[in-house]
């Protein structure tokens, strides 16, 4: 492929609809001009919200409070299980409660810079603006954030930031925020504003006359395939990190909702932007089903090091200071152990690749708290990280108060997702995407404590405004119901897809294929990518996918609970997404944030962007075959910030 072929095509569908005017006034301008739906008319509109994590639960609850009829869907037994619950560290907000120089524009700048200038400026500015409302909202709901003795909110600093703007609830911030949103959603379920469909999975999107008309779901308890019609559909279905098989995502996280929307015409943006989290527990054995993350907040007080000598065999505490390499402090003096995630991850990988790794498999680096315990006392360290230390001990069988933790990077978050405009609407009118399922705010790399912020911003403070703007023109117009032939056709297609998995009657389980696919993607489209590897992946994945179609074995039937069958459907979609990820990574001939192409790096081994040719969002259009997807581009421009090379030295 030459540069010329890489030139993106422009496309009328990719209108970001960013309001005109100064950056700081765009959101106000939008709100001042958005169309409203009269309170008495809101109940005439049905909105479907798929997913009940931070973005989904907050959107469903707020839309129902406003008066819309909301149907909420989750494949879990309860909305409270969504994977937002596992976020540990915190949530950013430009409150400047610490008086340390924070402001909306500084949070904006940090987020843009953290995203390596590959996010949409106007969305990020809005995110920074509404961040302050999120904290107010969550405190009013009773989220027990950490407090100072005087009763005011406490903050800490987080990777990639020089101010303390992160709010937290011990090491369970995601849990407490999700429970807050879940409780607000539950109130609406109790009041009848939201109908909840639990253990119910989206299997397709229905598009009629170019507009999202509803969804088709499969009831996981009965296997029944059913249609649901609505005036608007919101996908808040999370990210696709489980494409790697081993990741920090929960076992059931999957890309099916976003992928099925993509196949029905929604463009998929920047699939190659995946985030590797630097502080996870290294893989211990071959049965491992997932990796566990230790909150990045640990890097506030932990020091990261490896022995200088690759043949070191002594236990950590016997290695003298002079023979330790505190590599993040050495390489990035001003940020030290708080350098951004991608930078810290690659630094660790380079040392492990050189043989300086620690642990029985030499596949980790130390995260050492002995200095913090000496400086602050064990009590303070326990107060800040007690539950994380316990969690580590449970998994690794070692006590981090006595011996340093061992950590290694793992896939954690996906910045790519469904392309959305300023209103969070996909290229299918009436179909919205929120939270990790969309692509817009976090660019090529997400800073710590910004995923919770983005999910809640979208659900609480953006969608409720933009959805009314989209619905107002539909007032008193009829929309297709579930008896429309297109619903029946899509339902039949979904039924035959699931019957198809059972009827292959091959020899390998869905997990086998998932594991094999994950290995290819991790090896060639993981922390570092290069042309040869990506081309290899693009040739290997279709071969494995063919084997999947011929040799899959799903036992049991399509009626009643069948987790093997659920998994087959999800792995099928991961195959197609995996191909698109590799294509996207190959086409992006630069390094940016989490996308690190070995060919494009500075002399110091840092990511080298190509702003002249790649300062754009790649948005892929489905053409019937993942290998033949068409690449479109939305150009990115930066009004207030100079495109600059990130420097965390």
């Amino acid at each position: 492929m030459t540069m010329l072929e890489n030139r993106p095509t422009t496309n009328a569908k990719l209108n970001s609809k960013v309001p005109s005017g100064a950056l700081s006034e765009k959101w106000d301008t939008f709100k001042a001009n958005a169309k409203l739906v009269n309170p008495n008319n809101k109940r005439k509109f049905k909105v479907i919200v798929v997913g009940t994590g931070l973005a989904g639960a907050s959107a469903a609850a707020t839309l129902a409070e406003l008066g819309y009829q909301v149907d909420a869907f989750t494949f879990h037994d309860s909305p409270r299980r969504a994977h937002s619950i596992a976020a540990q560290g915190g949530i950013n907000a430009a409150k400047n409660y610490q008086g340390d120089g924070d402001s909306v524009s500084r949070l904006f700048t940090d987020t843009i810079k953290g995203g390596d200038f590959r996010s949409r400026e106007a969305n990020v500015y809005r995110l920074a603006q509404v961040s302050v409302n999120i904290i107010d909202q969550m405190v009013a709901q009773g989220v027990p954030f950490a407090r100072e003795y005087g009763g005011l909110l406490d903050n800490r600093s987080f990777g990639g930031a020089q101010v303390s703007r992160t709010f937290y609830a011990r090491g369970q911030t995601g849990q407490q925020l999700l429970l807050g949103a879940y409780q607000q959603l539950s109130r609406q379920i109790g009041l009848g504003g939201v109908r909840l469909f639990n253990r119910c999975e989206l299997v397709d999107i229905v598009v009629i006359d170019g507009r999202a008309a509803g969804i088709v779901t499969r009831d996981l308890l009965t296997g029944q395939v059913t249609s649901h019609a609505a005036h608007a559909v919101v996908l808040a279905t999370g990210g696709y990190g489980n494409v790697y098989f081993l990741s920090t995502n929960a076992m059931n996280c999957n890309v099916t909702a976003a992928w099925r929307a993509h196949r029905r015409g929604a463009y998929f943006a920047n699939p190659c932007y995946t985030q590797i989290h630097p502080t996870c527990i290294p893989q211990a054995d071959e049965t491992q089903s997932k990796l566990t993350l230790m909150s990045e907040s640990l890097r506030n007080d932990g020091r990261v090091w490896v022995p200088k000598n690759a043949d070191e065999t002594r236990p950590a505490h016997q290695i003298p200071e002079a023979e330790r390499d505190y590599f993040l402090e050495r390489l990035y003096p001003s940020y030290g152990n708080l350098a951004p995630r991608d930078i810290s991850s690659r630094a660790a990988k380079r040392l492990v690749d050189k043989g300086q790794g620690v642990g029985p498999l030499k596949n980790g680096v130390y995260l050492d708290f002995s200095a913090a315990i000496a400086r602050l006392g064990r009590n303070v360290v326990e107060e800040r990280y007690g539950n994380l230390f316990e969690m580590y001990e449970r998994i690794a069988g070692e006590n981090p108060y006595d011996v340093p933790m061992r950590i290694y990077p793992a896939t954690h978050y996906t910045m790519g997702g469904l392309w959305v405009d300023y209103e969070l609407q996909t290229t299918i009118p009436g179909l919205y995407a929120a939270g990790e399922a969309n692509f817009s705010d976090l660019g090529a790399n997400r800073l710590g404590a910004s995923a919770l912020m983005q999910g809640l911003a979208d659900g609480y403070f953006v969608l409720p405004y933009t959805i009314s703007n989209g619905l107002a023109p539909l007032l008193n117009k009829s929309v297709p119901g579930v008896d429309h032939p297109e619903f029946k056709r899509v339902e039949a297609e979904a039924r035959s897809r699931y019957e198809g998995y059972i009827n292959v009657k091959g020899t390998r389980s869905p997990d086998y294929f998932h594991r094999e696919l994950g290995k290819i993607i991790w090896d060639y489209c993981g922390m570092e990518r290069d042309r040869n590897g990506l081309e290899k992946a693009i040739s290997e994945i279709p071969a494995l996918y063919d084997e999947f179609k011929k040799d899959l074995r799903v036992t049991g039937t399509g009626e009643g609970m069948n987790q093997t069958l659920e998994k087959a459907g999800r792995v099928d979609d991961f195959f197609q997404l995996g191909m698109l990820m590799c294509k996207d990574a190959l086409a992006r001939e630069e390094s940016a944030g989490g996308h690190f192409r070995v060919e494009y790096q500075t002399d110091e081994g840092e990511a080298q962007r190509d702003d002249e040719n790649f300062c754009h969002v790649a948005a892929w259009e489905w053409t019937g075959d993942a290998n033949e997807a068409t690449r479109h581009a939305e150009e990115l421009s930066f009004e207030t910030l100079q495109l600059a090379t990130r420097s965390y030295k």
Binding site: D77, E148, F461, G556, G560
Partner: protein
């Protein structure tokens, strides 16, 4: 350092549906590393069942890091197994020895009907939260967060209760199938905070009444707290009872004014 366990006998509950007759099925795991988690041991068993053309054992699980509350197994008669303060997904095979027999059952409680094999329906918990387990605060009207100071000890106590993951181990461990620890934890979380005062007594009454529709009665065995993977203290039940009792007077007075 890792070791390999050999010859584990696993007796696992199989039940085809809510109304089907259940049975124990016995499998032998010839060898497995003790670094594996308990659920990874079940993954290995399921891979083997699929390769034999049999249906995999259905069990609930998701985050596998002890926070989502989805996993739910009775292991040798103990909710979440033998390790203190640990969910099933965080339990590792290093808690077992070679030649052990491990009996795996679903939660057994009247309010949690079995869906299939080891999976149960815990929706009754959601119904309780829907009846009052929240602070009414519609989006948009919240005052600045620091306008509501919360003394640190109060915030800490609320957080201790809010740590509940809603797994249902308390109910499964209770000889009466009572949900008092779960409900007490939510009531304590919200009723301790200044933000929760406006609805304090209404909340206590509504949640307890809904609880009573589904679950058994508490007779202070304390098994719930012993089984709780988040070590929620029995104190929350005392606070719930106190607020419920007060609610019966206060709410009546309030009603008489209306």
């Amino acid at each position: 350092m890792s070791h390999t366990l050999s010859n584990l006998t696993v007796k696992v509950w199989r039940q085809d549906g809510p109304n089907a007759v259940g049975r124990f099925e016995t499998h032998v795991i010839e060898s497995i590393t003790d670094e594996a988690s308990f659920l990874e041991m079940l993954d290995v068993l399921n891979e083997r069942l699929i390769s034999q053309g049999k249906e995999a054992v259905v069990f609930d699980h998701d985050c596998r890091e002890g926070i989502c509350g989805t996993c739910s197994l009775m292991i040798n008669g103990q909710a979440h197994g033998p390790q203190r303060a640990t969910t099933t997904c965080q339990l590792h095979m290093r808690s077992f020895k070679s030649n052990d027999t491990i009996v795996i059952e679903p939660w057994r409680a009247g309010a949690f009907p079995i869906v299939k094999d080891l999976m149960v329906n815990r929706s009754a918990f959601d119904r309780i939260v829907e009846s009052g387990g929240y602070i009414t605060s519609p989006t948009g009207g919240a005052p600045d967060a620091n306008l509501i100071p919360v003394p640190k000890p109060v915030a800490d106590a609320a957080m201790d209760s809010a740590a509940c993951i809603g797994c249902g181990a308390c109910v499964a461990a209770c000889p009466n199938g009572a949900a008092n620890l779960f409900v007490g934890a939510k009531i304590a979380h919200l009723n301790l905070l200044p933000q929760g005062q406006a609805e304090r007594y209404r909340r206590a009454e509504a949640m307890v009444d809904t609880m009573d529709e589904h679950f058994g009665s508490c007779t202070n065995h304390g098994e719930c707290s012993a089984a709780c993977p988040k070590e929620i203290s029995l104190d929350v039940i005392a606070l719930m009872n106190k607020d419920y009792r007060s609610a019966k007077f206060k709410n009546r007075k309030e009603l008489s004014r209306n």
